[in-house]
């Protein structure tokens, strides 16, 4: 190598995560009024293009960040999970607004009380609806997460570790009560 040409040492993580964090393509799962704020977040005034996320991808194959904006019904939950499963790894998820995070004001039988019951959520945004700058804040949190915590090694984890069962199994609840190891209905009542 010519000694007059400079070179730089770095890690693959630093380069790949820099690229990933600055080109997050959101999958806009707009379900209710939060979706309007999400549009403002992508629009010219708040201009998320500054963070490289202006390309909303309505195809899950091309997206790596799902923004669930709005209340999610039990019927819609299955469609959301299906879209999430179709997204290519690595992927992140934002629960935007009170309804997506916890059910919000929709405390009723038809609305899922927080999408973290079936999706691995990385960032929750409070607000009803949250302002677009809050959504940008959440996006920056995701970027921080990618730069500091994510590693390309996780993309290539395979074999024993990937064949191992997930960390936690969902508890099954039937009309008779909780049917799972751990706490049962009686323990719940006793507490």
């Amino acid at each position: 190598m010519d000694s007059n040409t400079g070179y730089l040492t770095t890690t693959v993580d630093a380069v790949v995560n820099w690229a990933r964090s600055n080109s997050l393509m959101p999958m806009p799962m707009g379900l209710a009024c939060c979706a309007i704020e999400m549009m403002a977040f992508a629009g010219p005034k708040y201009d998320v293009a500054r963070f490289g996320s202006e390309a909303m991808r309505f195809s899950p194959r091309q997206a790596d960040l799902m923004i669930v904006a709005g209340w999610c019904s039990y019927k819609m939950a299955h469609a959301i999970r299906r879209v999430w499963d179709q997204m290519a790894d690595p992927k992140w998820c934002i629960a935007m607004g009170a309804c997506a995070s916890s059910g919000g004001m929709h405390r009723c039988y038809g609305v899922v009380q927080g999408i973290d019951n079936f999706l691995p959520v990385d960032v929750y945004i409070p607000g009803c609806p949250p302002r677009p700058d809050t959504v940008i804040h959440a996006l920056m949190d995701i970027q921080e997460n990618i730069r500091n915590e994510y590693s390309v090694l996780k993309d290539y984890q395979s074999g024993a570790q990937r064949l191992a069962p997930p960390e936690s199994r969902p508890m099954m609840m039937t009309a008779e009560g909780v049917a799972a190891p751990g706490q049962g209905v009686a323990a719940e009542v006793a507490r």
């Binding site: 039990y74 019927k75 939950a77 299955h78 959301i80 999970r81 299906r82 499963d85 790894d89 690595p90 992927k91 405390r107 009723c108 039988y109 038809g110 899922v112 009380q113 927080g114 973290d116 019951n117 079936f118 999706l119 691995p120 996780k154 993309d155 984890q157 395979s158 990937r162 064949l163 191992a164 069962p165 997930p166 960390e167 936690s168 199994r169 969902p170 508890m171 099954m172 609840m173 039937t174 009309a175 909780v178 751990g182 706490q183």
Partner: protein, 214 residues
């Protein structure tokens, strides 16, 4: 299906004070008289509240009354149809029909009451096509069956849902296990607990998921 039953006290009636917003279009005394002439005892009480006429109809004749109103008296537009759970011992369920005479600029409200044991009302879809989805909604939410409806499926809830959520004894947060959530991993079992996260279940990130076998 046997659900717990809690009784709530009834509100005291508010009395028939004059409605300052009442319109002449809701005064349909002549239409009520015309209905009485044709249907006689099938027309029950007629209540005038806040300048609006409400006609009680015998459930079995509701489709005939609607047909007569549409074809002879000009009430050709079904604005709304819906159900009420009054949660009383007698006449628990109520179905209301709001009709409009577009030409004559008149409105009339019909009501029928059915018992909890046999919540069956003849369908008016043969008269008003618009009643189709309203009756499906009413069936979905309250479990009132509309006899003669061509396609009485649920409107909102999944088709295998076992309950009627707008009935008063249905708990606000639903019945655990009746509406499954998606699986926590691709191809996994459905999440039957609607509060899985509150009980400590945390869906895993995709790189922690078990490898696909497909």
């Amino acid at each position: 299906m046997a659900l717990k039953f809690h009784f709530t006290p009834a509100d005291t009636p508010r009395g028939g004070e004059d409605n300052p917003h009442a319109k002449a279009s809701t005064e349909v005394a002549d239409t009520v008289l015309a209905l009485r002439e044709v249907f006689g005892n099938a027309i029950g009480d007629v209540v005038v509240y806040a300048g609006e006429h409400t006609v009680w109809v015998e459930p079995a004749r509701i489709a005939d009354v609607c047909r007569h109103l549409k074809e002879s008296l000009g009430f050709n537009y079904l604005v709304d149809l819906g159900g009420v759970d009054r949660f009383t011992e007698e006449g628990r369920f109520e179905v209301y029909y709001n009709l409009v005479n577009v030409e004559g600029q008149k409105r009339i409200r019909l009501k029928v009451r059915v018992e909890e044991e046999s919540p069956q009302v003849p369908s008016v879809t043969g008269v008003f096509k618009a009643a189709d989805w309203n009756e499906r909604e009413c069936f979905d939410m309250l479990g009132i069956t509309f006899e003669g409806h061509q396609d009485l499926r649920r409107m909102y809830m999944p088709e295998d849902f076992a309950y009627h959520p707008q009935r008063k004894e249905f708990p606000l947060l639903g019945i655990p296990g009746s509406l499954p959530l998606p699986s926590q991993t691709p191809g996994g079992p459905l999440t039957m607990d609607p509060f899985a996260a509150a009980r400590g279940s945390k869906p895993v990130k995709s790189y922690q998921e078990p490898q696909s076998t497909q």
